[in-house]
Symmetry: C2
DNA sequence: ACTTTATGTCAGTATTGTTGACATTCCAAG
DNA sequence: CTTGGAATGTCAACAATACTGACATAAAGT
């Protein structure tokens, strides 16, 4: 009697893909791929006075327009002092606009100006070029697997926080 | 007449998985997954006087015992001054041994001491726990996809440099 | 009125990266 | 054997990004 369902979860057998060797390979892949992943924007940012932290802020402000400072802090996982330095520069330079909240006037809602959108575009274009090539060469099935594994690697707490990004 | 080979490359159609939305999702997945990926070792390292840079050095010295400083520099992609600070601490603290090369006496071959191996083990154990869970829950097919996409994201130049790690 | 929340800011410090300069050691080519 | 260059180590200065702790302000909630 055989198990007819070979696509769903493992029932004790065929766990050979979980060897320490395979896990080690996965760990190093994460390291080297992330290095490649960040290299294009990093190169572009050298032409400005900005760094990776500015990129992240600009990215998520673009992603969720009107996001509050606290929301952004939760997503980035840094202290308000660290974010504030970056945010102040972006506001001073006219890339980000900080508006007092309408419902809760303590909050600040963050928006990209046109200048901010331009930088975001330049950075994300570069990042998409690499990602698109990687996706295309690997194929749609591989991309599904890529997504499944990476989703599982995210902290459960963080997963809750970033749910709003998908909707 | 249908295309019998559905697993190989795309022939012009079905590229819907390359939409900007999907690419954006991939970009954010990389960000959040990498954060999770590094969180366990980072937490452990707080109990020591070491940081992520020490972890990386210890990892690759363990991975390729007797590696030269120059080789390690190529893999890590940092300057010798940056690596040297980390390396000196590890040597001073008795986690890494630096032996003069036998063929070329200018080179230094790096080895982990027992103390170094202990730390490496503690860090990689934690990292493997997360990776194993992510792999297991996603399944072997997904892991193949994960690997394919991440391989494609690595800089071609870096890919050459790290070939030696697989053999 | 009092407390809590959201935000901003100042000061100090740690980690990790960078350049530039210089010294030492040692292989290799002339 | 001398010279050139490669590999390594070290010093100093600096930059980006993170942290903690403390304090201030304004507005919301009780």
């Amino acid at each position: 009697m055989q198990d007819g369902n070979v696509t769903s979860g493992n029932h004790g057998e065929d766990l050979l893909f979980l060897t320490d060797d395979n896990l080690l390979q996965g760990i190093e892949l994460m390291f080297f791929a992330y290095k490649g992943f960040t290299s294009d924007p990093d190169r572009i940012l050298q032409n400005y006075t900005y760094g990776r932290a500015h990129h992240r802020a600009v990215h998520f402000i673009n992603r969720k327009r009107g996001i509050t400072v606290n929301n952004l802090l939760d997503i980035l996982g840094v202290t308000k002092q660290s974010l504030n330095r970056v945010l102040r520069q972006l506001v001073d330079d006219g890339l980000v606009e900080s508006r007092v909240g309408t419902n809760d006037r303590r909050q600040r809602n963050l928006y990209l100006t046109q200048k901010g959108k331009d930088l975001e575009q330049e950075l994300s274009d570069a990042q998409r070029v690499r990602m698109r090539a990687a996706f295309r060469d690997a194929g749609p099935d591989a991309v599904r697997g890529f997504r499944a594994v990476l989703e599982n690697m995210i902290d459960p707490e963080m997963r809750k926080r970033v749910q709003g990004l998908k909707g």
